[in-house]
Symmetry: C2
Subunit: 504 residues, 2 copies
């Protein structure tokens, strides 16, 4: 497909490339408010498709949605000791509730009389405010399990924000469930992890490794944390979703007990889990290229663009064919939804301009309709994944498009999987380990190495190489990964290999 001229290449500067793709594909922009982004319609449409697919999966597994307050009393945050210690204290704090006209000039000032008795925090996550409610909702084992999810905005005052990957405000879903037993909460945590993995792989075309976090990387206040980890094109890890078993920690902090079937009063077990607009950043990092956004068909705002070619006398026949194909495609269902089609009939722009324009914006397939081809009963189909253009008979265009979308979805996954496999290595010596992460700027892929299981070693490795333990895989990538060995750093015994990488 045609070259786009204006974007920094990945090789040249990966960070600049990422930012330019986000902006030039019209996905999002920085806002005047530090660290906050504006999600533009083209980017928000991706989020809507993500939300709808995930929401369906949550509901199929018995979850319902609810909505809890944006603001949390300051004192709530310190009720669970590890939670307040481990959680970033950078947050947005509401201290007043009224403005007044500036007596000394134009505009408005904060009314000093309107100071709140207790400051309120814009939720960085909602465990505390939700468990405060659950205390009233849960009395008996008959009230359990409580399987609630919330779609909401949250805020963490990020010092080094990056569009989608790390912004002060972001959109997410946060599940908060309550259970009678540890085992049931564990099952819930794993059910959600499986949904996240399936969503990443089957919708986003991003292969992920599901595993458990080391204690040093788990959620503040959790018993343990599961994660899915993806690889970027600069060979770093990106945490795409987490599912936490919270034990009885929050139930104890907020005094939430239930009467068991045997009549005993017991603390409730909890889980929480979330994915966010960071998934959009993950998807860009995994698939996009130097021509702009590459988007899996299941999540693409526009799957097909039709570019009619021809002026003057040819125009009418070309536009008739264009309109008919567009209408037929829109009436066709693919992956459970009508195919999303855009006709680019701008008269002032050249076909070449349009090709670049829609490549930049991640449209999966392009149909070119010109008078000469049309006279022969055919059109040209080009894929955003590259390769030759195909001539397709008009009679077969609808079935061909459906097949091409299937192929696009599976090829994109395979391409990302191949990248990950080519950049996953087993390392047994500290020299090799250091060498793997020596490159400035980029990552070093996923390194499977033995670790002695201590926080001390984890910290020392991270200090020396900037690589951290991304997870201990639930299922070994290779059976030999679960054979005992010696720690790559300390030489002490190790039960299995874990995954190290530099992370976003």
């Amino acid at each position: 497909m045609a070259k786009d001229l204006g974007v920094t290449s990945r090789e040249e500067n990966y960070a600049d490339w990422y930012n330019e793709v986000v902006k030039r594909a019209d996905l999002a922009d920085n806002s005047v408010v530090r660290g906050c982004m504006v999600i533009k319609p083209h980017g928000y449409a991706i989020w809507e498709h993500m939300r709808d697919a995930l929401d369906r999966m949550f509901k199929e597994t018995g979850h319902v949605n609810a909505y809890f307050p944006l603001l949390i009393p300051k004192s709530f945050l310190s009720k669970e000791a590890e939670h307040v210690e481990g959680f970033a204290k950078e947050c947005a704090i509401v201290t007043h509730h009224r403005l007044m006209n500036d007596p000394n000039g134009k505009g408005v000032i904060v009314d000093p009389e309107a100071k709140l008795e207790e400051e309120l925090i814009i939720r960085p996550t909602s465990e505390t405010i939700i468990w405060h409610s659950y205390k009233n909702w849960i009395q008996s084992y008959r009230d359990l399990p409580l399987l609630i999810n919330q779609w909401a905005n949250v805020m963490r005052w990020e010092l080094r924000p990056r569009l989608f990957l790390r912004t002060a405000e972001f959109l997410w879903q946060e599940g908060h469930t309550a259970h009678a037993t540890y085992e049931e909460a564990e099952q819930e945590t794993l059910t959600i992890l499986e949904i996240y993995k399936r969503f990443a792989e089957e919708w986003m075309c991003v292969p992920v490794i599901d595993g458990i976090k080391s204690d040093g990387e788990k959620f503040a206040g959790a018993d343990h944390t599961y994660t899915i980890e993806a690889m970027t094109q600069d060979f770093r890890a990106i945490q795409a979703g987490t599912s936490h078993h919270l034990g009885q920690n929050f139930a104890k902090a907020f005094d939430v007990t239930f009467q068991s079937a045997e009549g005993k009063r017991e603390y409730v077990y909890a889980t929480s889990w979330g994915v966010s607009t960071r998934l959009i950043g993950t998807m860009i990092m995994a698939h996009s290229d130097d021509q702009g956004l590459v988007c899996p068909p299941k999540l693409a705002p526009i799957q097909i663009v039709i570019v009619p070619i021809g002026r003057g006398d040819d125009r009418a026949a070309v536009m008739d064919a264009t309109d008919k194909i567009a209408a037929d495609l829109k009436a066709t269902s693919w992956a459970g939804l009508p195919i999303r089609v855009k006709v680019d009939d701008r008269e002032k722009e050249s076909p070449g301009f349009k090709y670049n324009y829609w490549e930049m914006r991640g449209v999966c397939l392009r149909i070119e309709i010109g008078p000469r081809d049309l006279a022969e009963g055919k059109v040209v189909v080009a894929s955003r994944l590259g390769g030759d253009k195909k001539e397709v008979q008009l009679d077969h265009i609808i079935s061909t498009i459906a097949t091409e979308l299937d192929l696009f979805q599976s090829s994109l996954y395979q391409r990302a999987l191949a990248l990950r496999e080519a950049n996953t290595h087993r390392v047994d010596t500290w020299e090799e380990f250091q060498a793997a992460f020596a490159q400035e700027g980029g990552g070093g892929g996923f390194i499977l190495a033995h670790w002695d299981g201590t926080q001390e070693t984890e910290d020392a490795i991270s200090a020396a190489t900037k690589a951290t333990i991304r997870c201990i895989p639930l299922i070994p990538l290779d059976p030999s990964d679960n054979e005992p060995g010696v720690c790559v750093y300390s030489g002490k015994p190790s039960q299995k290999r874990v995954i190290f990488a530099k992370a976003y």
Copy 2:
């Protein structure tokens, strides 16, 4: 249907009745944060159905969704002079961005070092932050129209909050569009008003009067405001949605111009429009009764509850029939979606308890399946709208349910319409006018009266009676309403009757 014993009647105390319905139907609850509510799963499900239906209508008319920041720099609010003057100054103000451990004890305090240079306001509405973005997005007439909607939370520090009707934080959609001409913006404003009216009447079963606001009641910063107004069962008006023509006010405040097709630089015309979780309150006020929630089938979280009756030997046969009917109903589409069915097979609760329980929660139809009826090949269907129970042959149950849902939807609308018509009156003397609004507590219905068109008279009438001008109807309720007359208060000439009511 069975009587519920625990709810205050509407006649006894309408405000208490409303609050009890909201809480006992499990829709929402007050939260620990003053003025903020927790929307519980049963209430949130109504909002999801509302959102999905409205979102579809917005998209069918060419709108797309986006997301803008939660926080607005304080200085933005005063850029449009009328906006800051007219808008409530009660809002949540963020002044700091970091907590720290309390050096004098446990817990956390605000870090005094982390004071923001400029305070940020949690959006009470987003015109200012959005028009700041539009400045970068709009250069040429080719960038217009811009038809953008946002689903978001907003916050206004309400002094007298009421669940759903008036809460500090609420959920809403806010459309913000940009146009090349005044006329096009006017058309947009009316297109949206028509969507709101259609949604209120066809989904919510709430008849509304669409009209224009007097200058005293228009949105702060608008050229003019359109509204839809509904009637409650205590004969007050409730504003259910508004659509504002903003003229060039915000374009001028944020310097947003475009180059016209003729090459001239001109200010952009704007509209904004919104409906919120207040619609849930409106629906309760219009339909619910002393047994609890009454919900239109198109928006009901659960449309059908099946109560199997029978113990011991009968249980298996009854449960088989229950499961089959439930599965058949779930596989049936009504109003474009699968029918939403709940089976209440709790063994410890009596049928009577279950009837009350689901009546309180607004389930539209109940199917009772008992062994004796079943032996005769039939079941019993009861409607939440009252009336006799019907015996229905098993063979016909699916088609009967679909018909009953249709009937429920239309009957509910007709009932609300009859209430409004019985409480809409034309009044021509000041004595009659005062008498109409003399009742303490309740409203006085909709009073169509002549008004001289001045703010002065509007204020005087409001001061004397607490009734305000709800709107000047777009289409007269009766042709005679548009005949000239004399103002009910001042005796000065008037072109037409307008609607007065006490409002929520």
